[in-house]
């Protein structure tokens, strides 16, 4: 087989029948509001691919938090509600309890889920609500301009810890995912990242698995996505992904934490 003629015209290739990947149709025309390179876009893109491929658009309802993804309902072409800061898990509980045969997910950031919403988050997990919680952990409050979050690492500089987060003053970063994995109500708990193609593929599988488990009322499925915050961390997207690997992953190791209701880590 001789190598392909290099000068083959690109137009030969980019024919509809040769299309192998395109963004899900479940998006509005409006571009994402997220900063260049932000993981929120990648996560939500993967989520919508799953909704489209599983064919559950007619039966899924999402709950948006308060944070950078507060207006995600403007981009995603599915039914959604926007809950008060920290309360998306409780809103998702109420929604799922009256719509038991629908797919319900709440999408929350670290401030939303693990700071102001901790009470709702822990009790939603403890009740084992049959929902999917997608918890985006970028260790900072992005929307409000880069303040410290409960998951901010020690010595991490933020606008409210300009000299680095000090353990004596602000305690240590909160491993909320390991915390809720201890609760019997959680069935599948897994931590992911989307800065690499392999990571995106794994996240997609985890979301599909979670929706399937939800259909079988197995209990709460929880996916943490460790993500970057370019504007908050004051780095370029590529640099922030490197920083994330070197600093966030050691403290928030990727991989499954609980499978089929049993801790694996």
């Amino acid at each position: 087989m001789e190598s392909i003629d290099v000068s083959m015209d690109i137009n030969e290739i980019i024919k509809p029948e040769n299309l192998v990947y395109k963004k899900s149709s479940l998006f509005e025309e409006k571009p994402f509001s997220y900063c260049p390179g932000c993981g929120h876009g990648t996560i939500q893109r993967t989520l919508m691919e799953v909704v489209e491929e599983m064919g559950i658009t007619e039966d899924v309802v999402g709950v948006a938090p308060v944070g950078c993804s507060v207006t995600m309902y403007e981009f995603l072409d599915i039914d959604m509600l926007q809950a008060p800061h920290g309360r998306a898990a409780a809103a998702a509980t109420g929604l799922k309890r009256v719509l038991p045969d629908k797919y319900v997910f709440s999408y929350q950031g670290d401030g939303d889920f693990a700071a102001i919403g901790t009470g709702e988050s822990i009790h939603t997990c403890n009740r084992g609500e049959n929902i999917l919680v997608i918890f985006v952990n970028n260790g900072i409050y992005g929307m409000t301009g880069g303040q410290m979050a409960p998951t901010s690492l020690i010595n991490m500089k933020t606008s409210t810890t300009p000299y680095g987060r000090k353990q004596e003053q602000m305690g240590s970063p909160l491993k909320i995912t390991e915390l809720i994995a201890q609760l019997p109500g959680t069935y599948y708990v897994s931590r992911h990242a989307v800065h690499t193609p392999a990571g995106v593929r794994k996240l997609k599988k985890a979301i599909i698995k979670s929706f399937e488990l939800q259909k079988e009322n197995k209990g709460l499925c929880f996916i943490e996505v460790v993500s970057n915050c370019n504007s908050g961390w004051k780095m370029t997207p590529v640099k922030s992904n490197q920083w994330m690997e070197e600093n966030m992953f050691p403290f928030y190791p990727l991989g499954d934490i609980k499978v089929d209701g049993k801790l694996v880590k």
Binding site: I4, I10, F27, F32, G37, P237
Partner: protein, 78 residues
């Protein structure tokens, strides 16, 4: 084994020039344009088109989903 032949199409006006796709491409196909789009971002584009195998890595990590990927079926290559 003949190398699969691929190509990407970038939605120029929605690309935010984050360059995350560059590091994801196994064959260094992508680079940034010298020109900017309406928002003032340099845009991802194929600087080494012939190396593209249509593996979709770039599209998977694109936070704004601006990359569409095409791959020539092996049959039509022969």
């Amino acid at each position: 084994m003949s190398k699969a032949k691929g190509a990407i199409v970038v939605d120029k006006e929605k690309c935010k020039g984050c360059e995350v796709c560059i590091t994801a491409c196994p064959h260094q196909v992508i680079g940034m344009t010298s020109t900017v789009n309406a928002k003032g971002y340099r845009v991802a584009s194929m600087v080494l088109p012939e190396a593209c195998t249509g593996c979709t890595n770039c599209a998977l990590v694109c936070p704004d989903g601006v990359i569409s990927v095409y791959r020539l079926k092996a049959a039509s290559v022969a």
